[in-house]
Amino acid sequence: MPIIVNLDVMLAKRKMSLTELSEKVGITMSNLSILKKGKAKAIRFSTLEVICEVLECQPGDILEYRSEE
């Protein structure tokens, strides 16, 4: 899929672990792991909102479009 999830990059920038993020946003570790690995089919605006709030970033910092070519 040409949409890349840069959640691990943002976590590294904020020096935050996935467990910590999971506790702060209220999303299970398994779901965050699916998102981080890029296996998710879709992401809710509410999820994106809360992640951006906790990581103090923009949606574009987490999601990136990269052409398949």
């Binding site: 998710a40 089919k41 879709a42």
Partner: protein, 214 residues
């Protein structure tokens, strides 16, 4: 406390699974025997038993209809009939053609049974609404259509081939009559199953997408 993969009707699923497994193994056995006997028959040129071919016919003589409610005797004609003829020395091409179509039908049946067993095994593990099961249902429907096609092709060719080659006093052999439409509803059942399989596939796909929506 119930285990998470326990659900109502599990006993029925286990029963069906056992039945289908038995039917599958019996079918494999019967098909193997059929294949071996036909191969032996073909290569040794010795027919093990006279092969049966389906034929259509009508009787040319009128019959008498006796009814207690009618004072006068009435008559009837035997318009449409279907039966099997055993031919001692049939044309080899016709035998080979019929055997090949019978074997293709049997293979379709075996694959359908196997797919049904796989669906039941998945259901037993509480994994029913999955895309794989929908695809298996689609295969069962398509194989059903193929089975119907092989069976009809075999019988129609037999009707046409023997209609002008068989002679029997008082019997007129035909290429077509009502019996060519026999079991035609089977194709509609298969088409209904195909529609259900497609609806099932879309449902399973949506469920998977929902599951992977974070």
């Amino acid at each position: 406390m119930k285990a998470p993969n326990m659900f109502y009707g599990r006993g029925l699923i286990s029963f069906l699974l056992t039945v289908f497994r038995i039917v599958f193994f019996l079918s494999v056995f019967a098909t193997s025997i059929l294949l071996i006997t036909n191969m032996v028959s073909m290569f040794t040129n010795v027919p093990l038993s006279p092969p049966n071919f389906p034929v259509l016919f009508s009787l040319t003589n009128e019959g008498v209809f006796n009814s207690s409610s009618v004072i006068e005797e009435s008559s009837f004609v035997f318009n449409e009939g279907m039966g099997y003829v055993s031919i001692v020395n049939p044309s080899k091409g016709m035998v080979v053609f019929r055997v090949i179509l019978t074997m293709l039908g049997a293979v379709c049946m075996l694959v359908s049974l196997r797919q049904t067993i796989l669906i039941l095994e998945a259901v037993k593990e509480a994994r029913f609404l999955i895309i794989k099961n929908a695809l298996r249902l689609r295969w069962i429907a398509l194989l059903g259509i193929a089975m119907f096609f092989f069976d009809k092709l075999s019988t129609l060719v037999s009707y046409a081939y023997f209609s002008d080659k068989l002679e029997l006093s008082g019997v007129a052999f035909k290429k077509f009559n009502y019996f060519i439409l026999l079991n035609i509803e089977f194709i509609f059942y298969c088409l209904f199953l195909l529609v259900i399989a497609e609806a099932f596939r879309v449902g399973a796909q949506l469920q998977e997408e929902t599951k992977l929506t974070i």
